[in-house]
Symmetry: C2
Subunit: 331 residues, 2 copies
């Protein structure tokens, strides 16, 4: 394994490959030490079995490797799974057929490269901490709000994963013990994800659309459009009061969660990314206000609430960051 | 300062003084390296001003020092305050007139001994981790449930304090965003402390006593007794169904909080101490059941929920543990 021999200094053209394996598609990038992306490869991964999925991962890395400007020193994968960091095995995989796979070892063997693996939300936190909105902090909470809410924690400057790698499921902290049932394999009620995710935003917006048929949201619903998070954000930016109200409701729930994170972690920053952050301050304003009304001093005044620097490439860039740190730590 | 010169090996009779400064009383103990307590000193600290409070702290340590079997190497104080660990200043003190005091430096100067300071809940966590129910774990959540709920976190084997020392306020994690207003200086609603503390237990019990006048709880209320946590526990141990129900209600709220802690921290153990743990499994049983029904695998199955080893001396013993670790880390 080229990266395993150590003492080889990184030369300017050296790269790693960062891979974000999502529920429906895969993005790979050849990334240099300064986080510049030299080549991108995309694949769909819908409706395929485990063997084909692993084949596509290998093919995407190989294509990226051939297009890279220099030597590929290692590969960092983000996968939407709980990973047992003691073994590199994907323990719980909701959308992908990876459960039980010794993913790290299988990929390392097939690629002939050093491989590191983490879940996508932890990698988004790593990318934001090393190169983005949480740079320079010691304690940071990073939420990736899309269909669900992924959580990543930087504690004492390093990604916190818990005893076996299953930690930092911040989206599954309860904020309303009697709230709606959560999603997917989560048996809980009133989790932050059930109250403040893109899915929750769409639910709140549908209720408001029904209650206010003359609003922009109401007209969209009656014209047969799907009331989704992106539509709510679009209408809110256009000034539709119902859409703005939907973002305020969900933003306040987010703020309840942030008040708990402030009290638990006394962090310097909470970074909010994922698709829902397209709403920007229309979401973060109410969230910040609610957090400030609820959290304890001095933590509430010490925690900034800011949008993420990295968008849909956060997982890929985090995978690359993980790989670079692994390469450099390899003796 | 005797402990500051370093390279002096601990001899069997050497001790440190651990001090737990509570809202109404002070407990100091001369504690050897094996956590044996050789002498205890008690003082009340009610209704006195700052100067007198500091004088009583000094006098209690001096009395303990005179009765100690050997040299006193240092002093560890637990105080019911947020402490800015960068400066040793008590930032927020709810019950005691210590806000703004450079407590660590003032005590070190007056005692002529090395002094370490932390809040009482962090010290309970330290004692449980080094010598008690969390011994041998890497990640542990420790709750001290009394009038309020104090929180302590052991993460990667060390006490977690947050960016400035204000972290681990686990009792102020929200479990019901629309729940009752919290206590003291906490502006939040539906915190774990508002739902599952001894105060919450008494509130739930009073409601049940009113609704069920023929129960043991109801008869206690109508006979003019104060429906307090200890009374509920006493009646529950006697089999009173209303008292048992009060513990079940509060235990389930505790379990909601534990499900969040399991998902956030993926810890090996949650340790429950404080006065309310006198109810034992009558509280922990419902809590564990609720946690298991809500938390994600594999974290829910990896987190044991156990009673604390140390009771009302946890803070003093934690102070002593902190002092011993400080003495041994001093070059």
């Amino acid at each position: 394994m080229p990266g395993g021999e150590g003492t080889v200094p990184a030369v300017p053209n050296d790269v790693v490959v960062g891979v974000d394996l999502g529920g429906t598609k895969l993005l790979a990038g050849a990334v240099d030490r300064d986080l510049r992306v030299h080549h991108r490869t995309r694949r769909t991964v819908v409706g395929i079995d485990q063997g084909e999925l692993l084949d596509r991962c290998v093919a995407a890395v190989e294509e990226t490797r051939e297009a890279a400007p220099g030597e590929v020193r290692g590969v960092g994968f983000g996968i939407p799974c709980l990973i047992d960091q003691r073994t590199g095995v994907a323990v719980v995989a909701v959308n992908l057929s990876l459960a039980g796979v010794r993913f790290r070892d299988v990929m390392a063997e097939r690629l002939g490269l050093p491989v590191w693996v983490d879940n996508d939300a932890n990698l988004a936190a790593l990318a934001e901490h090393r190169h983005g909105a949480a740079r320079g902090t010691s304690e940071a909470v990073v939420l990736t709000i899309g269909t669900g809410i992924g959580g990543g924690l930087i504690l004492r400057g390093e990604v916190y994963r818990g005893a076996t790698g299953a930690g930092a499921e911040l989206g599954h902290m309860v904020i309303d013990e009697d709230g709606p049932r959560c999603q997917g394999n989560c048996p809980n009620h009133g989790c932050l994800e059930a109250m403040a995710s893109g899915t929750a935003l769409a639910r709140v917006a549908r209720e408001l659309a029904t209650a206010r048929p003359d609003s922009g949201l109401g007209r969209a619903l009656s014209s047969g459009r799907e009331v989704s998070g992106p539509l709510v954000t679009e209408l809110a930016h256009d000034g539709d009061e119902a859409a703005l109200e939907a973002l305020r409701v969900v933003g306040r729930y987010l703020g309840v969660g942030l008040s708990s994170f402030a009290n638990i972690f006394n962090p310097e920053v909470a970074v909010i990314g994922g698709g829902v952050i397209a709403a920007g301050e229309l979401l973060l304003g109410p969230a910040r206000e609610e957090m400030l009304a609820r959290a304890l001093p001095p933590s509430r005044d010490q925690m900034r609430v800011v949008p993420a620097r990295f968008g849909h490439e956060a997982g890929m860039l985090g995978g690359a960051t993980l790989a670079w740190e692994g390469v450099e730590a390899t003796p």
